[in-house]
Structure formats: C-alpha cells, structure tokens
Amino acid sequence: MVRTMPILLMDNDQPSSHSDPRRQLQMARSMCWHCQSEVTGEYFCERCVKVQPVSKETDYFTCLGFPRRLTLDVQKLEARFYELSRTFHPDFYQRKSTAEQTISLSNAAVLNTAYRTLRDPIQRAEYLLALETGSVKNIRTSPPADLFEEILELQDTLEEYRASDHGSDQGHRLRTTLLTEQEALERRKEELESQLRRLFADWDKLQDAGETTSSARAERDKILKQMRDLLSHRTYVNNIVSDLAATIA
C-alpha cells in the first residue's frame, strides 16, 4: 500500500507562486460568473447582484481592506471582519442558488483564515514576510546563536527530569532549575518580541514614506532579513517554553 505522502509544495496560508496554474484563472475574475458582465463592485456584480468569488490572488490584507502594515488597529480589524462575515456567511445564502452557496462558503472560509492570520501580530508578520519575499516555505525555526549552549544544556535537564522520580529530592532540584530556566526564556521571548515590534514600526514607516530609491530598497531588504531571523528565534524560544511548561505542569 502506498502511504500518504503530502508534499508541501505550497503552504496553505501563503500566496501562490508564479508557476501556479491557477494564475491563468485570474482573467475570469473580472467577469461575473453569472451574467458575464464586467465586475466593478467589490464583492457583488453590480448588474445582477450576485456574490463574486474572492480571487485566489487576493492577499489577506486586501481581503480585509487593510494596507500591508504590521501595526494595525485590532478593533477596526474585528469590525471589518464582522461586516464581511455578514456579507459572506452561508447563513445568508440558504435561499440562493447552489452556485452562490458554494461561493459564499469558500469566501467565508478565506475570510476566516485572513482574519485569523492578521489578528495575531506574529502570524501577521510571518504572512507579510512570505508575501514580500515570495518565499513559499515555512520559516525555519532556529535558536539564537548565543542561546545555543544554554538550550543544549536545558534539553539534557529536561530529559533528566522526565526520567526522574518527581517526588524525590533530585526531582525537586531539577524542577527548580527548570523553573528558573523557564523564567529566563520567557524574558528572552519578550525581549525578542519587543525587538520585533520596533522592526514592525520601522517597516511601516518605510512603507508610508513610499520611496523607491535604491537605498530604500536596501533598507527594506535589511528589515525583512532581520524580521525573518527574529521570527525564527522567537518561534524557537516559544516552542521550548511551551515544552518546558507542559513538562513541569
């Protein structure tokens, strides 16, 4: 029997690459699927008032009507999400044709993913990074270089604790060590997140300036590179912290 073997050619939450055959479908988007007239309205054909599918090319920022910035008003985002939910939710298409029901279902699913991605600052940044760099791979997690030794040691302590009798003196001692480590790592995580927030602000400022000079482009690439490294470290530390918390809980 052939085993299941999914190959992540493309990540779900990330935009399609240029070789994607679906790109050829983009032409059809500007035409109403129902009356074939040109769609000028945002989500509905203005002529026959049929709901239109959200194009597969639409990124989540565009979908929710926000510019590609990393600091955004979460209240406004929620309000926009609720508004669009009222536009697309299948509850309101029960009496419509099957084609419209199908569009509503898939639009609502895209909307829900878009909101979930943009609501969380980390996921939002990871998504933007993928959009801007055209990278389709998940960001690989890696430990910050200066933490390498410390983390190796921590892994050993974790193993030792798992194998130990938690009620024994040794168990207590290991647990105390792990708790101290956990606090230190939590602090490190917060530090990484505050560095990220500063970088987010830098990105937004650069975008707002809208310059296209070569130095602006270099600055942009520098920010994206730094962001990738920080996100990668932050996820790594976060995973370790959760693992730690789960073990000593």
Partner: protein, 606 residues
C-alpha cells in the same frame, strides 16, 4: 420559503420549536407537554416513541431504547465499558453500532430518526402544515462522524437538515435574543449524556465563539450510574439478590436513581423504594443530599477540566467572563451550580428553562436561515483539530481546533514511485500526536495519472462547512480538472445504506402510524371512560333507569374494545358511549346551573 423548525435531539428528552412573531416557542403535544422522552420501544403493535415508550422501559427492557445519542457515530469498541448498563443487545456492522430489537436491527441514526419523526408529526399537527426542513442541535464537542450520523437521522426521518448547530451556541442565541447582552459569556451545558462548554463574545448581534470544549460521554446518566451501582451493591448485600439477571429491575433501579437525583435538587433527603424480583418485597433506604453529593462529586469535578481548557484556549482567564449561562437538565443539581460558581467566581444565570433553551435557540437559527432574523449571526468553531496521517503514523494537523468555521485547508500531494496511480489518504480528528490516539474519520484513494514520480500535483481541499462537517475535493493542478472523491467513513453509514433506510422508513411508516393511532385511541378512550363513569356515579339518579343501563353497557363495551388492537373499533365504541351519555351530560349541566343559581335574586342573574 417553507417553514424551518428547530429541534433539540437530546440524550434524555427532545423538543421542537418554531419562531412566532420574532419569538421562539416550544411546540407542545395535545396534552401541553413540551418534552418528548428520547425513548423508542418496539412493541407487538409496532414502534412507539416518547412518553408511551417510557412505560416500556421496565415492562419490556430488551426492546426499549433510551440514550441512543450516546451511540451516534460510534463503533462497538467505543462503548465497550458501558455495555453492561444497557439492557438491549448491541452489535456492530461496517463500523456502525446496531441495536437488536425483536427481529430487526437498527442503527442509532434510525432510532434517532424515529424520535425526529415524532417531533415532525407533533409540529405538523400543531402548525397544520407539512414540515420538511429543520435545524438540529448537537453537542459542540461532537466529532465529524457524530454530526454526520445526526444529519443521516434527519434524512431518514424525511427532514432536510439545513443546519447542524451546536447546543451551547444555540442556547446563547436564545439567551442573547432575550437579554441583549454584550460581552463575554460562558455557556456551561450539562445534559443527560454530554457536557459542553463554549466561550463566546457577543457584540452588535455577532455571536463569535472563541473556544469550545467538552466530553461527549459525560452527563446526568453518569450521575445516575453512581447511584445505580450503590443500590445494586446494597441490594446484593442486604437482600442477597443479584439483580444482574433481571434487566427490568435494573431499569427500575435506574429510573428510581434518576428520580431521587431530581428530588434531591429541591429536598435535603429522600426515600428510595425499589421493588425486588420474585415477590421478595421492597428495598428501601433514605438518601440525603450530602450522601448523594459526596457520590456525585467525582462526576461533577470531571466537568470542570474542559471548562478550564476552553478558557485557556480562548486566551482568557475566568475574570474576563462577564456572565455564565447554565444549560441542560443536569445543571439543576445544586452541587453543579456551586462548582460552576466557584470556578468562575460569579453566580451563574439560570433564569431560562435549561431544558428548553437549546430548542429555542435552534428555532432562532432556523429563522436566521429563512431570512426572518437578519441582525444576528453566529460564528462557531470546529471543536477538534483535523488532520491527515503522514509517514510514521503521525497526524499532521491541517485545521486547528477552535478555528472559526467555515474553514478550509489545502494540501498538495504527489507520487514518489514512477507510474503510481493512487495516493491513500487517511483523515483524522483529535489533539494527539499519533494517529492511533486520534479519531479516524475516513479514508479515500486519490486517483493520480500514471506519470514519473513527483510530477503529478493533486491539490486536495479540506473544507469544514458551517455544520462542522468535512467536505473533501481534489483538483489535478496540471489539468485544472477536479475529481470527485468517494470517501469511506470509518464510523458511519454509507450513502447507499442511508438511502435504503430512507426507503425502509417509508415502508414502515404505515405500520408506525397504525401503532400510533391505536395508542392515541386507547388514551382517549381511557379519559372518556373515566369522566363518564364519574358522571354516572354523581348524577345517575337524575335520569331514567333504562338510560343508566344503556350507559353501563356502552362503558363495558368500550372497555373490551380498548383491550383490542383495532383503533377504529375503539373510536366506534367511544361514539356510542358519547351518544348514550349525551342526555345525562345535559341533565348534569342543567342541574349544576340550577344549583349555582339557588339563593340568588333575579337581578343578580341577568
């Protein structure tokens, strides 16, 4: 658009509701009863459902099904450790439990369909129109198989199930409609067989579920069992009787345990009386609320873990919860209220009838779907993570739990052997790492054109719709062709089997209607018999002797007909009795009027 009713298909009781002038209302039966006990009995005269079936629990335990909801979407292995509690015999065919009743076997969706049909008939009789569309509620923590089984039950009952909606969120709709609440609420729903907890944010008519958790095998039934085990052990010790050979008596113990539990919600102590087999008298004991609570506390503690997990998943603490709403009959237990209050640090709301609020919410959702209510929208979540099996028996998660539905995920598949023509895909639901620890939902084989390894690119879309039910589609990315996928459910009826059951249900419908007519005729005859007998005793002296003789004859003939099985004969005898007693009734009415007028002046009368 045809009317859509809302149905609460409960473990212990079921209800049907509809929207009347912007307010949800429960549809009662002819006697004003709102709940249909979720009990189905196979009698010699056909199938009966509800209150009349409940009588058969002790009379006919092997052929009377209760708590069938516990078996929906399950295989026999899932319920192995509770088989001893059920007097009817359970087997398994094609991953679906079958319940043997008399000569026939029924799947849980078929039994549920009988309850749904009863509700459908009730609604049709009350509203005077044919009902073909419904919203049906399920526990929020129901997995895909259990939801699908519920949808199948609807189909078999002749209902188009327009939406499967989660019970706690349904309750929140009814609650929100009445209270116009804004803020964060927790709905604690503890029913007969299931526990759910949902955390919702209510804002401007949007009901957004933030997180949900639960246990589909934890309910009032489990509290009853603690008492059943105690009583059976005491009967063995004190009376030297092992009840395990007496399924009818075990049922009597279970029913007494349930009644005692209910009484102890209002009283501090209660007397237990259980009739023993073979005329060995009666087992009696006193049970205090304290004793009861010390027994029940372990079950109730188990309900708090899902609550804590839901709060955590919502990214909140108990301080962030503005209101706690109680749903389900089991929340009437004072101990439950105390524990919930202690956990959330605030007294829970219980001003809505916990038995009715879910059905009322289903009616609100039905009204949203039919376009009546337009300002409310429910955004629910999927309770369990969805994933597929990957190399090494590990589950790779595609849609995380508590993701807002509809939700979709795409996955690209290819081959790794030249000319390979298929890829087997195993879909799972659950939170554990390994495939074996999660719930298998379905398997299917993806068809791939024979090409060199790695060249085919098939994109599979997993879409969880607004019912929380999975739909799978696949597209060959090279040709843009989509392919239909035949999914083989791991724990469910195949489409063909559902189809056959729908046909069967039409075939048996005639039989069932016959049984129902007989039961109704008997009930009506009983009530006519009693009132006429009473009139005769009170006013027989006011009419001629021949008349009283004629009435007596008609009474005895009705009594004979009532024991027969022909509803038309019963109705005929009833008409004869009514005719014979007509004069007597008129005379009685005149007599009472006359008595009422005595001692009054003419001026007071007019």
């Amino acid at each position: 658009m045809a009317r859509i009713v809302g149905i609460d298909l409960g473990t212990t009781n079921s209800l049907v509701a509809y929207m009347k002038d912007g307010q949800p209302c429960i549809i009662p039966d002819r006697h004003g009863r709102t709940m249909v006990p979720s009990v189905v009995a196979v009698t010699d005269n056909g199938l009966i459902v509800g209150d009349s079936a409940k009588e058969h629990l002790t009379r006919n335990p092997e052929r009377t099904v209760y708590s069938v909801k516990r078996f929906m979407g399950k295989g026999l292995a899932d319920v192995q450790n509770e088989l001893a509690y059920f007097p009817y015999s359970l087997t398994e065919t094609d991953g679906v439990i079958r319940i043997r009743l008399g000569q026939k076997s029924y799947s849980p969706p078929q039994i549920s369909a009988m309850i749904l049909k009863e509700l459908k008939l009730r609604a049709e009789a009350y509203l005077g129109e044919s009902i073909t569309k419904a919203v049906i509620t399920v526990p929020a923590y129901f997995n895909d198989s259990q939801r699908q089984a519920t949808k199948d039950a609807g189909l078999i009952a002749g209902l188009e199930v327009l939406r499967i909606i989660n019970e706690p969120t349904a309750a929140s709709l009814a609650y929100g409609l009445q209270k116009n609440t804004q803020g964060t609420i927790a709905v604690y729903d503890f029913g007969g067989g299931t526990l759910d907890i949902s955390i919702l944010k209510l804002k401007d008519g949007i009901f957004e579920v933030l997180a949900t958790n639960g246990d589909t095998h934890l309910g009032g039934d489990d509290v009853d069992r603690v008492l059943v085990d105690l009583f059976i052990a005491e009967i063995r010790e004190r009376e030297g009787i092992d009840l395990s050979g007496y399924p009818d008596h075990i049922q009597a113990v279970r029913l007494e345990a349930e009644r005692a539990k209910i009484r102890l919600s209002d009283e501090l102590k209660t007397d237990i009386a259980i009739e023993l087999p073979e005329d060995k008298g009666c087992f009696t004991r006193e049970l205090t609320r304290d004793q009861f609570e010390s027994l029940a506390t372990s079950v109730i503690e188990r309900t708090l873990t899902p609550c804590r997990m839901a709060i955590k998943d919502a990214g909140l603490t108990t301080k962030d919860i503005d209101e706690v709403v109680l749903v389900g009959g089991s929340t009437r237990m004072p101990l439950v209220r105390q524990r919930v209050e202690a956990l959330f640090g605030k007294p829970p709301h219980c001003h809505l009838n916990p038995d009715e609020v879910v059905a009322l919410g289903a009616a609100v959702q039905a009204d949203i779907l039919s376009g009546g209510t337009t300002d409310m929208l429910l955004l629910d979540v999927t309770p369990l993570s969805l994933g597929i099996e990957t190399m090494g028996g590990v589950m790779s998660s595609l849609i995380r739990r508590n993701t807002t539905i509809p939700a979709s995920a795409k996955e690209m598949f290819t081959t790794y052997v030249d000319g390979q023509t298929g890829v087997d895909i195993h879909i799972l639901q659950g939170e554990r790492e390994l495939v074996k620890d999660n719930r298998s939902l379905a398997r299917f084989r993806l068809k791939v054109p024979p090409l060199p390894a790695g060249v085919p690119r098939i994109e599979v879309t997993f879409l969880i719709d607004a019912n929380g039910i999975l739909n799978v589609t696949a597209t060959d990315m090279r040709t843009g062709q989509s392919q239909s996928i035949e999914v083989k459910p791991s724990y469910g009826l195949s489409d063909q089997e559902v189809e056959r059951m729908i046909e069967d249900s039409f075939k048996f419908a005639a039989e069932d209607i016959g049984a129902r007519k007989l039961i109704e005729a008997r009930l009506d005859a009983e009530s006519l018999f009693k009132t006429t007998d009473k009139s005769l005793a009170e006013a027989g002296h006011l009419v001629a002797r021949e008349e009283t003789e004629a009435i007596r004859t008609a009474l005895s003939q009705l009594s004979t007909a009532k024991d027969g099985t022909d509803p038309r004969a019963i109705r005929g005898r009833m008409a004869e009795l009514e005719q014979a007693a007509k004069h007597l009734n008129t005379v009685m009415l005149d007599d009472s009027l006359k008595k009422g007028l005595q001692g009054k002046k003419v001026s007071e009368v007019s």
